[in-house]
Symmetry: C2
Subunit: 380 residues, 2 copies
């Protein structure tokens, strides 16, 4: 359901800010969290913050070297135009930065820059920046406001929406974190034009996930428009971002702290996180790990008689058409099992998996037998 054009505002040079959609996370009895989607809209952040009533004077913008090169200047300019003092911090690129040491360092930088309880943080970048800067904002002075400005497909359709923030521990991913809702989310589809191929596919893994667990129509759209999507045709990009962001917004509004429904979004993630942990968060990207995790979850569902062969096959085929892996890497099965038991979703020592009985549907299965899991891990 692509939205409508709302307005055209000149921003800089020949680039025009074009709003394509405005979504929102609508929690009960709380101000909705706007998700603003458009083209060349980074320069609008300052005025969006003013509209949202952010009285902050200092804004700590956190980004990485790669994103800063392309997109930090318009953000800074827009903030300053709206009367804010921007305090940019640029960290190296990569998942390795998502750790507690970096959180402590960020807080020190913010103290030095004079950020106080009335200040805000802007997370400009992909999931790593959003998770890291969001968690630092959640804990700095016991929590200051922050804004998500995702610049990757993965962050736009998933990570930037819903208030989950976290850093990794050497023993497991995202194990230290907080629920901290952003004041607003600003998604500039134009930033996706410079996204490296591998990160584009990473985001597609989350798009496929959304389709499998929630939206059979989207799944069909992905199958039928795979070529356009791989080429990042603007209409396709817009369709998948707006559709997936909308699903995510609806689900987190219903279940903010993952007591039920929201856990379904972890389809493929239980095994995915293990793959990432056991390969040192380097070799496999998040999307690739989740893709292999989804394919394994589909095999597990089939072994359990929960879905037919065709359902599992369609999942595998779509993932592969996007160049995503559907086989687990060679890992010590015992180490994998141990890591599985460390998953955040484990309760009272029982393994829990999200499984899909049919395209567009998902449910949580608790107490899956270890033998079956070992079979799936062995690639059967």
């Amino acid at each position: 359901m692509p939205g409508q054009l709302h307005e055209h505002t000149p921003v800089r040079g020949d680039k025009c800010a074009i709003w394509t959609d405005r979504l929102a996370v609508r929690f009960k009895n709380r101000r909705p969290i706007g998700i603003h989607v458009g083209h060349h809209v980074l320069g609008e952040l300052g005025s969006l913050l003013r509209d949202a009533g952010a009285g902050a004077s200092r804004i700590g913008a956190v980004t990485n070297t790669v994103v800063a090169h392309h997109y930090l200047p318009p953000v800074i300019k827009g903030l300053e135009r709206a009367g804010y003092t921007a305090c940019p911090i640029i960290i190296p690129d990569g998942e390795a930065e998502k750790n507690l040491e970096r959180v402590g360092w960020l807080c020190g930088e913010w103290l030095g820059a004079g950020l106080d309880r009335s200040s805000m943080v802007v997370a400009l970048g992909g999931g790593v920046i959003g998770d890291l800067a969001g968690f630092a904002a959640a804990t700095y002075l016991r929590g200051i406001g922050f804004v998500q400005v995702p610049t990757t497909l993965l962050a736009m359709v998933d990570a930037a929406i819903g208030g989950k923030t976290a850093v990794n521990h050497p023993m497991a991913k995202n194990i230290i974190g907080a629920f901290h809702q952003p004041l607003l989310v600003l998604e500039d589809l134009a930033t996706l034009e410079t996204l490296p191929e591998r990160q584009w596919r990473d985001g597609l893994a989350e798009v496929v996930k959304t389709a499998i667990i929630l939206d059979a129509d989207l799944f069909l759209y992905l199958e039928q428009n795979a070529e356009d999507i791989l080429r990042r045709r603007p209409e396709s990009v817009r369709h998948i971002v707006v559709t997936c962001a909308g699903h995510k917004a609806r689900i987190v509004a219903e279940d903010e702290t993952e007591s039920g429904l929201r856990a379904l979004l972890n389809y493929g993630h239980t095994l995915g996180h293990c793959i990432e942990a056991l390969t040192g968060y380097e070799e496999w990207s998040h999307g690739e790990a989740v893709s292999a995790g989804m394919a394994a979850a589909a095999r597990l569902a089939r072994l359990l008689g929960l879905c037919g062969k065709e359902e599992a096959e369609r999942q595998r085929a779509l993932l592969e058409s996007f160049g995503l892996p559907t086989r687990l890497p060679r890992l010590d099965p015992e180490a994998l099992m141990r890591t599985l038991y460390h998953d955040k979703k484990t309760r009272d020592g029982k393994l829990r998996f999200v499984l899909s009985p049919a395209i567009g549907q998902a449910r949580m299965l608790e107490g899956v037998e270890e033998d079956l899991i070992r079979k799936v891990l062995a690639g059967q």
Copy 2:
């Protein structure tokens, strides 16, 4: 207002668990957080948790070497008797432990011990343990339940009640933290018998603070019973703990996240935190720093014409009768001013101080002139 004896339950050997009072933090529309006060009641933790409906199987008990020696065994026994699996972690004693590295280490230990989202953490010790273990519980797996079992006067009357958790940053105290309410608070007055003299006085600083800002009757009681209090006579101990814990519970229930009223509890803390930071959190204890901070705040109030000479003098005299310092240490005034501006309560670069116009009353003053503060820092 000491409460009534509720029940007598034999616990171990010749020691009987004696409940003296039950208070609660009563947030609107939420389950009240019980504050259970008694003598020799550590062994009751397990059954209190069962009564509170804690379905956890594993309990990560965090304490330090000193407290563990005296009080870990009855806690563990009580937990096991109630059917819980206790996973004790003992860290070194001291404020130096309250840092992000220790939080990461704790989370690793908990992962290793199999603590999951249904698990709970018990913080057994003083303010350092409560703040550290509480913050780790607030962020482990994005937050698991925890229980405060304070064993110092300071923690019983203040730190353990209200859900503030935090660790220090080399640049400032408690700068990284979270609001995370405990499931319940268990205060065993018998643990105060082994408290070192200096830590006893530390707690008295917070008791005096409570009296100055909220309770003129308590202030009079402290003046008239100073001797008994210094000797830790059981009836006096019980009176000050129950009175102060009751005040704290009432205030945090009205203002959980310190948007107004709760900030008054920081009387003496603005300067106190600076003293601690500039002396490396070692030389001055928290209570000593707060005591000097309160005396300075009284001088500032007098300079501003907000209170009379007698009011300030009574504060100084009571603090000194408890052996607490009322003069600031020799510190570089410029360094002190810079640290003041880093205080968590600073907003938009304006210095804010809690001041007391009369014993039993307090209010927040914003934009206090730097010149006046410099005079007070110079000891005038």
